[in-house]
Symmetry: C2
Subunit: 218 residues, 2 copies
């Protein structure tokens, strides 16, 4: 039980959590692995295996109690508290992120918006005012254990990244299409639209190349 939860499982738990909250909002009290799996595009056996790493929270012959399972997943994921989020780079994407519902999800709170452009500093976005990037270290100091979201221009990215890390941040969500160097103890996740498109292009091309055999695994 105190054995580490596989990273693949960790990546799927938020998916289950969302589906469970939807069920809970609809007043559903109990769910089977089969039904939950169907709403998360995962096989029921994989779902059960995943949940088994957290403990034995289901009831055989019955299913899982929705609210209890929500609580357990949230606890394991560290979502029983709110995490401060600092958004760096308020360009097109940064502005969209600042207003994006994803951050409003239970568990996260945007604490600061930072940009280097004097024209943007002072602008109000949502309930936050854009601050100058020279406030970076101060803001990070005021928000221990914050998650930094990087949406700055490519050429500034490594410099800003180094400053974030020096200031003590150990979790970064990187939207910059560059591989940024960080020490091992820093967890960095990368979102790269261009890469996702390229992966889709590969599969699209493959479909065109072999138009007949749709499901060969050879």
């Amino acid at each position: 039980m105190p054995k580490g939860i596989p990273v693949a499982t960790i990546a799927r738990l938020p998916l289950y959590l969302r589906a469970l909250r939807l069920l809970s909002d609809r007043g559903v009290k109990l769910v089977s692995s089969e039904d939950l799996a169907n709403s998360t595009a995962v096989r029921s056996t994989k779902l059960r295996k995943d949940l088994s790493y957290l403990g034995s929270y289901g009831v055989r012959g019955v299913g899982y109690e929705v609210d209890y399972l929500i609580h357990q997943i949230a606890r394991v994921m560290g979502l029983t508290q709110d995490w401060p989020v600092i958004l760096i780079g308020i360009g097109n994407l940064g502005q969209a992120l600042a207003g994006y519902g994803g951050f409003a999800t239970r568990g996260f709170k945007v604490r600061a918006l930072l940009d280097s452009d004097p024209m943007k500093v002072g602008t109000q976005i949502g309930d936050q005012e854009v601050q100058h990037i020279n406030q970076l270290e101060k803001v990070i100091g005021e928000n221990p254990n914050c998650i930094a979201v990087l949406a700055v221009p490519e050429n500034a990215a490594q410099t800003i990244c180094d400053r974030i890390v020096s200031a003590g941040v150990t979790s970064i969500l990187n939207f910059v299409p560059t591989v940024l160097q960080v020490p091992d103890e820093v967890e960095m996740r990368k979102v790269d639209l261009s890469i996702e498109l390229q992966i889709l292009a590969f599969y699209e091309q493959r479909k065109l190349a072999q138009p007949t055999e749709l499901e060969n695994r050879a």
Copy 2:
């Protein structure tokens, strides 16, 4: 050689491609797996294994010819032609995507912007005018083998998705934080900010829980 390339490899090839193009732009002609690996945050042995699935394009004792390797990876990924991209949902995120450099990357061409809001229809974003969503089937018909990028509100997502699929699209990049049901032959990739944040929260929490042992694998 005509054996399938592992999906894990496919997901990394675009990363190598970007690094290689940077080298090429700087006039570098030759690169070793060690150096290329360093700029992509991948181990050199993994990089070589990945490249070996494409064929033997390196020279022992020397390294890989940058431009030749670019060509080979682009060919395998299907990036020697331009893929049409259709962007559906021009909210905050959609607007950011429309202007985002990622789409301008060699290999993709935004062919249409669609939204249901009459206020947005007719607006100019970049070199494209926003069209009404009722043009969806027509636009898809005019752009065979296009990639659809979905950034519509959650409640409209499944309906729009069904229409896209009926119209013949088989590659979708989904920014909507919902699991959308699609037939098996449709390739769907999902980008979900909230899930990425939750994964970071897990690791951040774990660091707080065990502050001393930074690298235990137990």
